[in-house]
């Protein structure tokens, strides 16, 4: 039994990830507290996405392990428990509407009815009645739908990789407001961006990744 209040949201212990001869993540160890917004910044290819995929359970690390709410990924559970995620661009069926895409995912999560799906779509500023297929959505709209998808199960932890990709200024502001609101509800957010400006004002802690190595946590970033 784990204590909800004291268990860190994410613990990463000596994670190393190799793809062939390439070591993409080099023995990262760190802990992210629950109830806060944490940021990871770093250039493209610095290993942020791979680390997030390891935490979510999509990739099995070559060495080390990740724990989410005290449960070891790949041992206790297949994928991170009580977690919503948006990693890289969201994958949706292009001919289906946003509502239809999310309804399928909601069914898998055991959610009944359309209300929760509708509420999540509205939460990210999209119209749940929009009849066009996701393939015809703009990049920003798809990104918003991806975030709605992550919120679907009302998870305690959100793992968001480049959540502001493709969003206009207003979209970025809305996203920040949404994340602050989620934090106020006690949720934990781990978000990655290649642009420190995107997240510096938003995060309680920020770490930088470079060449598969992660820095110690610090709050503000000087550009």
């Amino acid at each position: 039994m784990t204590d909800r209040n004291t268990t860190p949201a994410i613990q990463v212990e000596g994670i190393r990830m190799r793809f062939g001869a390439d070591t993409v993540i080099k023995d990262i160890t760190c802990t992210w507290e629950a109830g806060k917004i944490h940021g990871i910044v770093g250039r493209n290819g610095s290993g942020k996405t791979v680390l997030m995929k390891c935490i979510c359970g999509f990739l099995r690390p070559t060495r080390g392990q990740a724990r989410v709410f005290g449960r070891t990924i790949g041992k206790d559970v297949d994928f991170a428990p009580d977690t919503g995620m948006l990693i890289e661009a969201p994958g949706f069926l292009p001919h289906e509407t946003g509502m239809s895409n999310l309804l399928w995912l909601a069914r898998l999560s055991g959610l009944k009815g359309r209300e929760r799906v509708r509420a999540c779509i509205e939460m990210v500023g999209l119209d749940p009645n929009l009849k066009k297929g996701v393939g015809k959505y703009s990049m920003g709209m798809r990104q918003r739908l991806g975030i709605a998808q992550a919120l679907l199960d009302d998870p305690r932890l959100l793992i968001l990789d480049e959540p502001t990709n493709g969003l206009d200024k207003q979209g970025v502001r809305d996203m920040h407001a949404l994340l602050m609101c989620l934090k106020a509800q006690g949720k934990t957010v781990l978000l990655a961006s290649h642009n420190p400006l995107d997240i510096s004002g938003l995060c309680d802690s920020v770490r930088e990744m470079d060449g598969g190595v992660m820095s110690a946590a610090y709050k503000d970033i000087t550009i």
Partner: protein, 300 residues
Amino acid sequence: MCDLRKAWLCAEWNLYTLRKNPRFYLALVIGCLLCWMLTDRTLAISRDFHTDLQVFEAFIWCFADGDSILYASLVLMLVLSAFPRLDAAGSYVSFRAGRRAWLLGQVLTVLVITLGYCLLLLICSMLLGAGRVHARNIWSDTATLLSFSPGGFDPAFAVTRKMVKLTLPYPALAQIFVLLFLFMLLLSSVQLAFTVLKSRQTGTALALLICLTGFILTPERFMQWLHLPLEFTFYANLLAAWLSPLQHATYMMHNFGYDLLPRLSTSMLLLGGASVALLALSALHMRHYNYVFSGGIAHD
């Protein structure tokens, strides 16, 4: 129980995505065309000699033959090459379902598609013969004509006295249907297992390789390779029947009680066992599978 529900939902989602997949419709059309082309010889004889047909005979005569099974399987590969879905959309589904339920969902998808396709071929062949068919469990005049006419109509025809003498249409249909289904299931399992173990390309290539062995490992080739005289055809038949997966699915290449060819039950066990082993292997590997999706819009 929860896993089963999620697995079924994964399968349902997979099948739902076929709605907008042009390859699926292409395979349906080609499957029907193929059925029409392959059954035409039987139907032509029935037309020309004004003889009746047992309702399942068009299917039986057609798919008792290895070549027909092979062509039909290749068409099925067109649909199954889309599975398992390991793109971003599939990965998001997997995240919610869990690895085990997701894989079980892929197995269910493969089973449903393969069974559905076999049924399509059966129904198609029944419709093509409509008008001059009966449903009784006895061979038709066409079958008698094909089996016992002096010299036969076509030596390549899968109709032989052996079948007409030894069995009846309903059990023959059941056995041919199961063999066809199991061979297709084997191809699908190879495709699924090696996509998970290695890559989609490897999975498809190996499934095609099994089809290729069907072309290569025939009695005629063994006769050629081993320079066997005609009186040793039996040994070439034996080699082909035991070594080629396709010949295991070919009804006529079986032991009906008086030779050393594999028995129907042995072939069914081998084809089914190989499929189960491959699916078990993919289940084992799935626990450590690395999802390497790169996001973006999925292809339906």
